[in-house]
């Protein structure tokens, strides 16, 4: 069978650096940091009190009037996804029901959506009144919870927190009737979702797909988890902009971020038929797994990364010498950064010294499921502009890291870009993006 070529024709994002792709890129390309003291809750109970939070927004402005009451059923993860999806669709030139019901120019049955989502934390404050009436002698009492507590919670409560509701709300807003899936592989989810969406288009399952991920990480339960897992950086509450240092010798942990990144993917034929601008091609997908039996960090030798990168290059039909940029996952957790670097070393050989590597989490933190989508969008913009922005918070490479990271801005044509994603729990993914000749500026 002849597989369809899959290209990117629209981008949308919200993240710590802004509410649009242009705001994010303006920040990333100048090395600005979106990490600051946590505002969502009072963080004084935590050793790490900083995060990359999304600036204030109004989700109502991104939902058509006719279905605006749906926002009542949106938790923050859903809101972030809805906002980013609107920008992505609008920027692609496609007109869905959510953009303008009078001028729709897509067949809704030929549009797919595949998003990554995290484990959504329910709003503890929302449960407060229900749990307050469910105690005996100051302790939670499940019998009172069943009898009295439930009546203090809104009946549709569960629907706010199902991971597939990100895609479902966007599907309702934009009338997406094709395949819909929600990948729940933590920080690897976005790349896996984008990969799956690309495969759906390549095999003819749809003409257009919205793909990406969203996650709101800056809440109590997520901060508790990062602290219990000893992943969060704890030495930089007074200097948040210097806290996250991927691949740096002084890397001391990750910073939690949040956001959403959504791409409009399209078969090349469909994009050309409607004469739209092509931003890049999804040329290769590679997936594998890291087999550390504690599920808390990568295998030290980075095997899962190596296999994913090798597969992605083979799928794209390229070798290490064809790569002009690596956007590594690099969180600032030293042992994971080193494992990733070793995996890349093994996959790329001596080319690792030549290919510029540009980690982004020093500026945005680790936005959970959305992390990979923010990176892929950043990579598309870098490819479009032909620049590798300066790395932030990188002074001296961690021992054993051979990545070519520079604090200098570099310019030149980027033919192929490799984006890596993994979750310490195991799943790994690599995506090769390729500049499409002749289309990039048409």
């Amino acid at each position: 069978m002849t597989a369809a070529r899959v290209v990117i024709t629209g981008l949308g994002t919200v993240g710590p650096l802004g509410l649009t792709v242009e705001e994010m890129w303006a920040g990333l390309s100048t090395g600005r940091c979106g990490i600051a003291r946590i505002k969502a809750i009072d963080p004084t109970g935590f050793a790490c009190q900083i995060a990359g939070e999304v600036p204030p927004y109004r989700v109502q402005d991104h939902v058509p009037k006719a279905i605006r009451k749906a926002v009542k059923l949106m938790c923050r993860d859903i809101e972030l996804a809805v906002v980013a999806a609107r920008e992505a669709v609008a920027s692609s030139g496609l007109v869905t029901k959510g953009i303008d019901p009078e001028r729709v120019n897509v067949d809704p049955t030929r549009v797919a959506i595949t998003l990554g989502a995290g484990m959504i934390s329910c709003d503890l404050a929302e449960l407060g009144p229900a749990i307050a009436v469910s105690t005996t002698d100051g302790r939670f009492d499940v019998r009172k919870w069943g009898k009295d507590g439930l009546s203090h919670i809104t009946p549709l409560w569960l629907l706010k927190y199902l991971p597939n509701m990100l895609a479902c709300h966007i599907g309702i807003i934009h009338d997406i009737q094709g395949p819909s899936n929600t990948i729940t592989c933590a920080e690897a989810a976005a790349a896996l979702a984008i990969g799956e969406a690309a495969q759906i288009l390549a095999r003819g399952g749809a003409d257009i797909a919205l793909a990406g991920a969203a996650e709101a990480k800056v809440n109590l339960m997520m901060l508790v988890r990062q602290e219990l897992l000893k992943r969060a950086v704890t030495n930089s509450n007074d200097a948040p902009e210097r806290a996250c240092r991927p691949f740096d010798a002084d890397a001391a942990g990750l910073v939690v971020g949040e956001g959403a990144g959504i791409l409009v993917l399209e078969t090349l034929d469909h994009a050309r038929a409607r004469g739209t601008k092509v931003l890049g091609e999804i040329a290769g997908i590679g997936q594998s797994h890291s087999l550390h039996p504690e599920y808390k960090s990568l295998e030290p030798d980075g095997q899962g990364i190596r296999v994913a990168v090798e597969k992605a290059m083979a799928d794209a039909g390229i070798g290490p010498n064809d790569l002009d940029l690596i956007v590594p996952h690099g969180t600032g957790v030293l042992h994971d950064d080193l494992a990733e670097a070793r995996g890349l070393d093994a996959a790329l050989g001596s080319a690792i010294h030549r290919i510029p590597a540009w980690p982004t989490k020093s500026m945005m933190g680790t936005a959970g499921a959305a992390a990979g989508a923010l990176d892929i969008i950043a990579a598309v913009r870098a490819m479009e502009c032909g620049i590798v922005p300066p790395a932030r918070n990188f002074t001296k490479p961690a021992t054993g890291c051979h990545l070519n990271i520079s604090t200098q801005r570099r310019e030149g044509r980027l033919r192929n870009v490799l984006c890596c994603s993994y979750t310490p729990g195991g799943q790994t993914a690599a995506v090769v993006l390729t500049a499409v000749q002749g289309d990039a500026t048409s």
Binding site: L124, V142, I172, G178
Partner: protein, 443 residues
């Protein structure tokens, strides 16, 4: 994407299950053939004051019985534990070595994947509820964050929190089997594991893997999960008769019976299965996925998305409604699902709709949520193998508006060659797969 040029046939070479009807395939199938219900009073926690006080639980299961080296899975959640046990059974049948860093089965681990529709793990209830109790300021009606954080950090365990992540089931199965191919976890509500099987089939068909361990795992039987379903009034409240509560397609149906479990199918390219000389149980020939794009709370009134998914699966399988011998319905026993699913079947099958047996295994097994589709798919493989269609039990007062052949109360002996499995989920998720008796030669 060069690998997408490939086109392979996909077969099933192993199955494993842990579910309310039994903790292996034979026990489950014996339960189905005798028309037994797996429902009973909730025992996992005290649910006696909930509007619904019963469910369908996995009983008598201990993961340690399945493993030689239980350590890597010792702290896993209830759902992940089911997944690992079901995976051990399925891998054994398919000749895939587990629990070893030096497999002798000749399978290239970079070509072995995992794809599950799996849910989040159960909450650490005492610590979770306790931190809200500790931090709730009743006077000001708000959470005091620092107090809550301190309680949580002092009382929660890193492992228990980590194991709640919905990807942990696939992570455990990957570590169990050494899988280095594509590993994905999806969560599309009640349609998740059918979607996982469908996408896993596509991965193999188009060259992404030779073998994928596919299926689902889920347990939402905990105080927060059951609270959510109770609040949605989705559950049957027939507390005086749990065994007869799941009664799809009847006039008196009043909701589903929540179950739990895991079901795993080993999907494999025909070329790989032949090369390994492993017995083939059935062939997967079609997959269709769609979304309703209608409402978060309700299915589309005309079953638009369900119809589209069924038609897409038929087109993918190059089959027509006339080729289908048996429909394994989603059949939840809710007022809405059973009516709309019936309508959708009529729309797709037209005049043949009443002639195709369409039963609901959920009448016996309960609703395994994320794991439901894969568990029911295993009964489809067995229906083909044994020439027996499972019954819809508890069907004594048919809804006069629902007039398909739901195979009431008694399983039916009949030749079964091609089966359609349907799964629909909250938010308008529709997934359908078609499987077929395996025969040599081109399909």
């Amino acid at each position: 994407m060069k690998t997408m040029e490939t086109q392979e046939r996909v077969v099933i070479t192993g199955m494993g299950i842990v579910c309310p009807l039994g903790n292996d395939v034979d026990a489950m199938w014996a339960g189905v053939l005798t028309g037994r219900s797996g429902a009973g009073k909730t025992t996992i926690f005290d649910a006696s004051t909930f509007p619904t006080t019963f469910d369908a639980e996995v009983r008598g299961y201990d993961l340690r019985d399945c493993l030689r080296h239980p350590e890597p899975h010792a702290g896993c959640s209830r759902g992940s534990g089911f997944a690992v046990g079901a995976a051990v059974q399925a891998c054994r049948q398919a000749g895939i070595d587990v629990e070893t860093s030096q497999p002798a089965d000749g399978i290239d681990r970079t070509r072995l994947g995992v794809y599950l529709g799996a849910g989040e793990g159960s909450f650490d209830n005492d610590a979770f509820f306790g931190c809200i109790v500790a931090g709730w300021d009743a006077e000001r009606q708000q959470i005091e964050w620092p107090q809550t954080a301190r309680f949580a950090l002092a009382n929660m365990s890193a492992t228990r929190e980590l194991e709640q992540e919905p990807n942990m089931a696939v992570s455990h199965v990957a570590v169990l089997t050494g899988a280095r191919g594509p590993v994905r976890s999806c969560l599309t509500a009640c349609a998740a594991s059918t979607q996982a099987v469908g996408e896993a089939m596509m991965l193999i068909r188009h060259g992404g893997a030779d073998i994928v361990i596919a299926g689902g795992a889920h347990s939402m039987i905990h105080p927060l999960g059951l609270a959510g379903f109770n609040l949605l009034t989705a559950l049957s409240r027939r507390n005086d008769s749990p065994e007869t509560a799941s009664r799809p397609f009847t006039a008196s149906r009043d909701g589903f019976v929540i179950g739990e479990g895991a079901a795993i199918l080993i999907l494999e390219s025909l070329a790989s299965a032949r090369k390994r000389g492993i017995p083939i149980l059935a062939e997967l020939v079609g997959y269709g996925s769609s979304s309703d794009a209608f409402r978060v709370t309700d299915m589309h009134e005309e079953g638009r998305g369900a119809v589209q998914a069924m038609r897409a699966a038929l087109v993918d399988a190059k089959l027509t409604p006339g080729d289908i011998d048996y429909i394994s319905t989603h059949g939840t026993s809710t007022s809405e699902n059973d009516a709309i699913e019936t309508l959708a079947i009529k729309t797709v099958f037209q005049e043949r709709a009443r002639q195709v047996p369409a039963s609901s295994v959920k009448s016996m097994m309960g609703h395994l949520i994320g794991a439901a589709g894969a568990a029911e798919l295993i009964t489809c493989v067995l229906a083909i193998r044994d020439g027996i269609v499972p019954a819809t039990i508890n069907l004594h007062d048919p809804d006069p508006k629902l007039d398909l052949d739901y195979v009431p109360n008694t399983p039916r002996k009949m030749p079964v060659n091609v089966v359609m499995k349907e799964s629909f989920g909250f938010g308008g998720q529709n997934n359908v797969v078609i499987l077929k008796r395996y025969t040599e030669g081109s399909r």
